[in-house]
Each structure stands twice: as C-alpha cells, then as structure tokens.
Amino acid sequence: MICSIVPPYMLRKLAAQDEPRLRAVARAAKESLLHIRSLQAARALAAPATPPGIRQAKPGPPKRTIYDAGTSEKLPGKLVRNEGEAATGDAGADEAYEGLGSTHRLYAEVFGRNSIDGAGLPLDATVHFGRLYDNAFWDGRQMVFGDGDGQIFQRFTKSLTVIGHELAHGVTQHTAGLVYRNQAGALNESMSDVFGVLAEQFLKQQSAEQASWLIGESLFTEQVQGAALRSLKAPGTAYDDDVLGKDPQPDSMDGYVRTSADNGGVHINSGIPNRAFYLVASALGGRAWEAPGRSGTGHLQVAPCRPPARSAASPRRRRPPPRSFSAPDPQSMTPS
C-alpha cells in the first residue's frame, strides 16, 4: 500500500502546496492522508468482541440420529436410534450415540457452541458402513464409521477421540473452512485431533498431565504393535509395527513431509500443530479444554477473515523451503 511508504508529515507538507505545478501532487497527498485517517480509525476500533459461539449462545440438547448401513456403502442407511430412545444393543450404534452426546456436551458446556454449525444442526451418523471398512469420515453432512477388517482395525466407534475427530470436521467446515490440502489441510486435521482428544479428556475429567493424548486408542487389534493412530504428545511414536511400519508423523517443521499422497500429507503433517497444542496445554497445566481449548475455538471463528494458511488454489507455485519452527519450550512459558 503506497500510503504507508510516504510518511504522513511529508504528505501534509505536500498537501499544503499551492503552486500550480504541484497541484496534482497536493491532491494526491490529500487523498493519501484521508486514506491513512480511515485506516487509523479502523485500527483504533476496539478488538472484535468474543466471537459468537464462545460462551454466548444458549446451546440446546443434541439431536442425534444413528443409521445402520448394514455393510453397504449407501448413506444414510436404516434408522436404528433416534434422540432419547433406548440403547439398541448394537455396540457400534450405541457407541456412536454416546460419543456424539459427549462431544456435543464439550462444545455446549465448555465453548457455548450449539452443535456443529452453532445453530443446533442435528448430529447424524452411520455405522457398519461398507464391508470390513477400515475407516471413518465426515461426508460434508454426517459422520460415517466402518467396522474395521478385524485383522488390523476394530470398529471405528470404539474410541471417543475418533467420534470427536469426525464431528470436529463438521465444525471446521462451518467455521474456518480450512482447505483440505497441504498445510491448510494439516491444520484442518489438527483441529479435529485436538477436539477429539478434548472430548475424551472432558468426559474423563482428565488434566493435561493425566491424559493419554492419543487418537484412536483401542482401535488396533491385539495383533498390531501400537497404542493408537496418532499421539499429540509425541507425534511419530503411536505405532511401530512389522506390517504397518512406523508412525510417520513429524513433530516440528523440520520434519515437514512433502507428498502427493493423502491430499498432501494432511494426516502426516498434522503432527506439527498437534504437538504445538500439546506443549501449550502442558505448559499451562490443568485442564486442556479450558484456556488452550478456548483459544482453539477462537481461531476457528477468526480464521475466515484471513487468507488461508496455504490455499489449494496454487499448489504448483515454487516456495522456499519451510523455515524451521521451534515449538515453545514448556519450561520458559509462564501460565497466564
């Protein structure tokens, strides 16, 4: 912006010029001064109030509906449990129902957020999706959970962190809208991992120190040498198995992985912001859903006003190698 390059005192001098040959310069200088004033006025405005969704709305109870795809890949499937109905006796369906309830409670009670969209969006989930399906996902409207193949994975509803992770993708879609590719995608993934572990910590009322910080604990069968899919506390250490190999997550920008797979490594590089969140939470101590968790939801609300971290629109542009990122040292941080 040109207005910042010429200092205001010089502009004022130019604006005051009466000489005919300097008239154009004077007019330009006056316009620049007016522009600067409007900028200063904007800067002087009070910082925006707490974004809506943080301790303001009056969240209602959840509106859960659980469907059963019966090993087909058709969504949503057959309705098996509505809000308020008794347990079905099907472990997957009941885990999904309870897990959505716990996650809804975290958003409502801690962040004052009324469901995924902040306006009470119903929580729909389908279980028993596909045959031996090794995955869970958010399809843009609802959560979907597979049963696992029984060799490596058990059913994906077994861990509340996975249910919280999927629901958080809905929240990100309705707030920050982080593009699901490269660095923005890794941030999107990290938001889901953070809210996934917070849902579990909130349910168990665990402090940052007590918590496992694992995503997908109890998902692997006993045949797999590994504790979970990911660790926010120690990215890269969640599993090390003869068949699956080793957890590939880096814990700092020095280890940033460039790859065409996985939408540009969104589930790999999420280890970097995951570890940063863990470090902040452990430095502050106490319950991670309090101060650090709130700043997380704050970022989700503010993010749409800023350009995306890295948009998917320009993936081919050459960039300098990533600067090294040093995560805060917990010892040097003082709780606020």
């Binding site: 996902f137 993708h169 879609q173 699901y180 899919l229 797979a261």
Partner: protein, 94 residues
C-alpha cells in the same frame, strides 16, 4: 502392462498398494477392456475437498494415470479398483 492402485489417506493414513502385472496375452485380453472403460481424461480429484478422512486413490495403468477421491470410484473405476484389489499383489508403503 502394469496396473497399480495406491490408496492413501483415510483417518489412519496407512497407504496400501495393489499391483497387477498383465503379462500374458490372456491377462492383457482381460485387463485391456477394464482399463479402456475408464474415463482417464476426465478423472477429477477436486471433490475430495468436502469429505475429510476419505481415502484417495492414485491409479496407474501403463502410461495412464488418474487421482480420484473414494467417492468418485464408481462405475468402470470401481470395476478396475475392485479387480486390482482382488488379484493384485498387496503391499504397504512404510
């Protein structure tokens, strides 16, 4: 002709690869129509954006290649992927 189906992403981000070597005349006779039926020039990876955690498929057959989100693996693509999973050599990238 070598056919590879690489499935990446998913919540667990464990990459799995299925490889088929169509060497004999019989193999080629069987695989060529499966490969030819796929709309290689119109494969569209963009619809992955609104389905976080879904698998991504990178498919190669000879010189042809395409990247597709799981949601787009339908019709002839599904036939190719399912056949490769059934008959192909399975491996994981560590």
């Amino acid at each position: 002709m070598k056919i590879t189906v690489r499935r990446s992403g998913g919540l667990a981000a464990l990459t799995q690869i299925w490889t088929v070597e169509a060497v004999t005349i019989d193999d080629k006779r069987r695989w060529m129509p499966i490969v030819e039926a796929c709309p290689w020039d119109n494969a569209d990876a963009r619809s992955a954006a609104n389905q976080p955690d879904r698998f991504m498929y990178a498919i190669r057959a000879g010189q042809r290649r395409a990247t597709l989100p799981e949601k787009a693996v339908t019709g002839p693509w599904q036939v190719l992927v399912e056949n490769a999973k059934t008959e192909g050599q399975e491996s994981r990238r560590r």
